[in-house]
């Protein structure tokens, strides 16, 4: 396994997973995953559908309880229920793949984003929560939608609401599960700009992606999953070669112009079996 990232022994890893296995019934979805994310890194988790990307990040934030292995978040062990109490949840923001079924009652953007201010043992909203919610919505370009019911927003806007919900607590670590799936290019660029600003401010990011897309310049390391195993951990691999397809507009610099590209026919590159663009 290649490992080109700079190991800083002085600071604790932000995410540290060791020997992670996850089984659901007869399916063995994660098969021994080791993953370390250090402070300030932007790590992309890549892989085809069904390779275990979402299952992995869901295990890392405590939604999936791994069958074997350990996860440490910000230096504290993650376990079922009370054993996770030591984790400083206020420093972690999670963006799920898509808005869940939502509830049976319509809720406004403000109400949904405000729920991001509750974490760990904090069960009540802090003073000045409205301003924090406004600021978070402003970061995703939806400041004028504070009072709009979320279910009436478009899919891409709903996705941005979920990002705002994770940003509102001003996390040090952001875990995103395909944050730009189904989001138009203009919004992807806006999202990438927001992320760049936050990363400059010291944010650590673990992001599941189908393709590097607009985030490519930010990504410092890529982890490629295949069949529930890490098959590549190092420099971001090049995307497949449909970038010059008709209708695809390039508005971002290519990070791979320095020649550090991975040969196309290695297992790593094949593992990055990126799907056809939406």
């Amino acid at each position: 396994m290649t490992d080109t990232r700079q190991v800083t022994e002085t600071s604790e890893p932000v995410i540290e997973a060791r020997g992670l296995h996850f089984r659901a019934g007869a399916s063995h979805i994660l098969r021994g995953i080791d993953l370390t994310v250090d402070r300030g890194e932007v790590v992309a988790v890549l892989g085809a559908n069904g390779s275990g990307k979402s299952t992995l990040v869901r295990a890392l934030v405590g939604i999936n309880t791994p069958s074997e292995g350990t996860v440490r978040l910000l230096g504290e062990p993650l376990g079922a229920g009370r054993r996770s109490a030591a984790v400083d949840w206020g420093r972690i923001g999670y963006v799920p793949q898509r808005a869940g079924a939502g509830g049976g009652i319509p809720s406004t953007a403000q109400e949904v984003v405000a729920s991001g201010l509750l974490h760990g043992r904090r069960l009540r909203l802090p003073r000045g929560w409205r301003d924090q919610v406004d600021a978070a919505l402003d970061q995703v370009g939806l400041a004028d939608r504070v009072r709009d019911p979320v279910h009436l927003l478009s899919g891409g806007q709903q996705q941005r609401i979920l990002i705002a919900r994770a940003l509102v607590r001003e996390p040090d670590l952001l875990v995103l599960d395909e944050p730009v799936a189904g989001v138009d290019v203009a919004s992807q660029e806006a999202f990438a700009a927001t992320m760049e600003r936050l990363v400059d401010g010291g944010l650590t990011v673990l992001v599941v992606l189908h393709e590097l897309g607009e985030l490519e310049p930010l990504v410092s390391r890529a982890v490629v999953l295949r069949h529930g195993k890490v098959v590549h951990d190092g420099a971001p691999p090049r995307a497949r070669h449909d970038h010059d397809r008709v209708g695809h507009r390039h508005q971002h610099p290519h990070a791979d112009d320095n020649g550090s590209r991975i040969p196309r026919d290695t297992a790593e590159a094949r593992a990055l079996d990126l799907e056809v663009r939406p």
Partner: protein
């Protein structure tokens, strides 16, 4: 006439009970609708019936008088146990919540009828619990209602943001390190308490209606969680108090009157609501963003025209 009603001590107790139920039931109902468990109140109500019969049995065994002294405490205990049990089943995910509810329905009714027979009563004794019997509310019942209502309101309103979070997106709540299991149990227990609080007013078979129908009314006119809860409470209080007032003048069942009234409000509001929302100024929901595709000149012109139309 009105003064006569308000000075009648039976009616005073009944009105206080109705008022409390009118507020608490929709608060809890909002969370149940939010988590798509609208029928949970019914399931708990059925289990509470077994509790009533069990309380009766124990009371008879201890030679207490009247026989039903322990009926309400029995209902509280059975309802709490039943609601927590359903949460456990839901969490383990082996049986769907739907199936678990169904089993509770049948087990609760059957257990109640069986036990009341063993206690030497008849299923007729259960009628006042099934359909409510507000005229028999005693001072002790009223105090229990007041205390339980305050507990339900303190939790339902005080923890509303946390309860909203777990009800809206449970996985996000887990990933935020919230005590999701504890909050879920709190919702279940609070639902159980509400059922027993409302038992005397509308009866166990109709208690769920009082939790859900006001929320359904509120949903027609608002698109926010907080406002839905507030509106539902107003609707709940209005139908409970006016329903009870009707029964002071006409000899009809208070529970049934209240529920029919609530459904009538629902019907009227759903007929009127479209006219209310139509009056609001429309605003263009489409953001003015460029497309991911390069449009031919004619299409660009049409896009500009469409944007103007929306404004």
């Amino acid at each position: 006439m009105m003064m006569m009603m308000l000075t009648d001590p039976f009616m005073q107790r009944a009105l206080i009970a109705a008022l409390l139920v009118g507020v608490t039931a929709p608060v809890v109902g909002t969370y149940l609708v939010q988590r798509k468990l609208s029928l949970l109140g019914d399931g708990i109500g059925h289990v509470a019936l077994t509790g009533v019969a069990l309380g009766w049995l124990v009371g008879a065994g201890m030679g207490l008088s009247p026989n039903d002294t322990l009926a309400v405490p029995g209902a509280v205990i059975a309802a709490v146990i039943g609601s927590v049990l359903i949460e456990v089943v839901r969490r383990r995910g082996r049986t769907s919540g739907d199936l678990a509810l169904a089993i509770m329905f049948y087990g609760g009714i059957a257990g109640g009828v069986l036990l009341i027979g063993i206690a030497g009563g008849s299923s007729g004794n259960l009628m006042q619990y099934l359909f409510g019997s507000i005229s028999t509310v005693s001072d002790a019942d009223l105090w229990l209602t007041v205390v339980l209502s305050l507990v339900v309101l303190a939790i339902g309103v005080g923890l509303r943001h946390a309860l909203f979070s777990v009800s809206h997106d449970e996985e996000f709540a887990i990933a935020s390190g919230l005590p999701v299991w504890a909050l879920n149990v709190i919702v279940a227990v609070v639902s159980a308490l509400t059922v027993t609080v409302a038992m005397r007013v509308v009866g166990l078979l109709l208690v769920s209606a009082l939790m859900i129908v006001p929320v359904a009314v509120a949903q027609q006119v608002t698109h926010a969680f907080g406002r839905t809860m507030l509106t539902a409470c107003v609707v709940g209080v209005v139908v409970c108090v006016s329903g009870l007032t009707i029964t002071y003048w006409y000899n009809v069942s208070p529970g049934a009157t209240i529920v029919v009234l609530a459904i009538a409000v629902y019907a009227v509001v759903s007929l009127v609501a479209p006219f209310l929302t139509r009056g609001r100024p429309a605003h263009d929901p489409h953001p003015d963003l460029p497309d991911d595709v390069d449009l031919p000149a004619a299409a660009t012109e049409r896009a500009a025209a469409a944007a103007k139309e929306c404004r």
